[in-house]
Symmetry: C2
């Protein structure tokens, strides 16, 4: 079988299964999630053995320590997958909800019903637990899924796939509701992202390179999560104690995450007051500072920032700092350099806060809070399939609702158009 | 100037203007709409003269009567554009609305703010009044627009563009909030749909060929409106009086519209009762019937339907009729052959209605109402920029809200992540 015909088979099967899962009752979907959890629990030995094969191959192929760590399954991580499934089973089911009901002058009653997207394709890298995360969110939101994990995790993913299949069959759902691609051939990705007749949306999870490649080649809509060049702006009307706490937390709480601050903007009137204190705290954490001329004039040991620094997502203990005249320049800087992920203003001035909230064009905008809050769990979504830096369809953390759409429903009593 | 650099100039200008219009107050946007209406009113002579040039060229180029009719501006149509602007000025402004406010356990207050998409590209054919429709909806929803009308309407569109520009400047808004492409070179469309750095979404309005071409070449998200192969299903539990009225209205109220019924499905138990009456009524309107074997057995003068007929959007006095066993077969047929636009069930059985509403995967699903109600005005959207047959972002009639997105807003008081 060629890759093309293999993928078309998967697509046809997914489309068929999507009709069944779209119409499935909440209780049945929850039973399926718990049955998959049971299957994982029963199959622990198999899962660890399959993962050992991947780990061994990974070592042979020279994967670095960080990648090997992400690839590893251990009893605690299997527990994590089981807990994740239980948590998703407890989330409210968005499907079938009817909102915005209104009577129209024609006599029809109009509303919107929340429905699944249909078939979701998910493309991800090394971590095998994403297989469960992604499958569970898609299942709960009534979608069929085609999953494509990293080639280095193929054995682990196949073992997880058979648990999923087992759980689906145990409750009488078609196993094709969740399909895991069983080949590491890259051509499979090429097919997956170019069959709009079978796939309604693609969610890539991984590095920027992967996502850009997929977006550029896809013929199916893509929910993109590109980089997080997040900003904190300390306003001239800021409470400087809050400002210091937020600017420290946003940078140093974790470095390798997309909602970490990468650039700090400080209003000129308070720069000389707040920057030395912050510089001392960053020095304690060994954060490298790169500043504009004014910043370099206020604090010592700062490297001059280049134009490129303002665009940078360091994902590292490095911070770019710019002194700005005030709110206008801050908004302008952010709208020019930001990746439109998350930005925060520290201010006690309501009018400044409101302008920042309204005019900064990013998926999350905050007042007096750390950018690190931009996260599906912190936002109460229960879980997230990703964080979208797109504007179309879903923006920011994407939970169950991002995997759904709304259709119009009309209730009449024989009405015809005059 | 090459087309590429011309389009990049338009893109840069649109992106800049989008910041201004996104932050503009409702009252200013409404003043702009009314100022454009005034400019049209003052410029009637110019508009008619410009349109006369297009009409003259159209006749020379052999445009058919239908196209010439769509191209024509006359005093009544100018009145229509002016009224349209007034109506849009009276619509509620969706921008800035904050919903779903909730307190999170971390102490932050979380909500969603409705925001413009940014820059909307609209590509349309002959009717010059679309220039005003599209510009007014984009302006009201806080978006900058780049408009590309049909080459046959270039003089009319340029005349309308100068009224728009005049109105914007009269209230102090940048004229680049609405830009009308001033060349008929096709390469301009190619540029417009492949500059995601300047354009956030493309809305093509026109024939299926245009839309398919644009979707296939675009690198910017496209809100598509493909065909409307709409169905009415007469259930075995239908009130046959309602069924006859709806089936007649859905087919014959207007033929050339996307929400007209193209296929009629009838449950076998009521087929012999309802089809002869319907056939007589269709005969009065000279509607050609194409039926399945069973239909041909019940009524006379019916041509046999081919497989292709079930896929067809006739946009003409032609109707395909199929007798189905019941609800299951009806849903299956629709989900297989429909273009996912609008489908209606006629039934008095609530359980049947609910299954149809839930399981039919189309942008509008109806009970006991004519498919002709699937329309932005009937749905109370005030106006529509199009009807989306996509599932992502906007589905069905797209009004102001479809030209917006929501961003997350977080109000804190110094909160940091623990």
């Amino acid at each position: 079988m060629t890759i093309k015909s293999y993928m078309q088979t998967l697509g046809t099967q997914a489309r068929e299964a999507s009709r069944v899962i779209a119409a499935a009752k909440t209780s049945l979907k929850n039973q399926a999630l718990l049955a998959i959890a049971d299957a994982l629990d029963r199959d622990r030995e198999n899962l660890l053995a399959a993962n050992a094969v991947d780990m061994e191959n990974g070592r042979k192929n020279g994967l670095d320590a960080a990648l090997l760590d992400r690839l590893e399954l251990n009893p605690a991580r299997i527990d994590g997958m089981i807990e994740g499934l239980q948590q998703v089973s407890e989330l409210p089911d968005p499907i079938g909800e009817i909102t915005d009901l209104q009577d129209r002058p024609s006599g029809i009653k109009l509303g919107k019903m929340r429905v699944p997207l249909g078939v979701v394709g998910i493309i991800y890298e090394s971590r095998p637990n994403v297989t469960i995360d992604a499958a569970s969110l898609c299942l709960k939101s009534g979608n069929a899924t085609i999953l494509r994990g990293g080639s280095e995790a193929i054995a682990s993913n196949q073992a997880i796939a058979s648990c999923i299949s087992c759980g689906l069959q145990a409750v009488g759902l078609p196993e094709n509701v969740v399909q895991v691609i069983n080949t590491t051939d890259r051509a499979a990705v090429g097919e997956l992202i170019t069959m709009p007749e079978y796939v309604d949306v693609i969610v890539p999870r991984g590095g920027k390179g992967l996502i850009e490649r997929i977006s550029s080649d896809a013929r199916v809509p893509v929910i993109k999560h590109l980089d997080g060049n997040c900003h904190v702006y300390i306003d001239d009307q800021a409470d400087l104690e809050k400002a210091v706490a937020i600017a420290l937390n946003a940078k140093t709480h974790r470095y390798g995450v997309c909602n970490a601050m990468e650039s700090l903007l400080v209003a000129e009137p308070v720069a000389a007051q707040v920057l030395p204190e912050l510089a001392a705290l960053y020095a304690e954490q060994a954060v490298e500072l790169r500043g504009c001329d004014k910043t370099c004039g206020i604090i010592e040991g700062v490297n001059p920032a280049t134009e490129q620094d303002w665009f940078e997502e360091y994902l590292a203990p490095i911070l770019a700092i710019k002194v700005v005249a005030g709110l206008d320049e801050a908004i302008e800087h952010i709208n020019h350099y930001s990746s439109q992920h998350t930005e925060s203003i520290v201010t006690e001035n309501t009018a400044h806060a409101e302008r920042f909230m309204r005019e900064v064009d990013s998926s999350s905008v905050m007042v007096n809070a750390s950018t690190r809050f931009a996260d599906g769990f912190e936002y109460g979504l229960g879980a997230e399939i990703g964080i979208s830096t797109d504007k179309i369809h879903a923006r920011g953390p994407v939970g169950l609702e991002g995997l759904t759409s709304q259709k119009w429903v009309v209730y009449g009593n024989g009405q015809i158009r005059q």
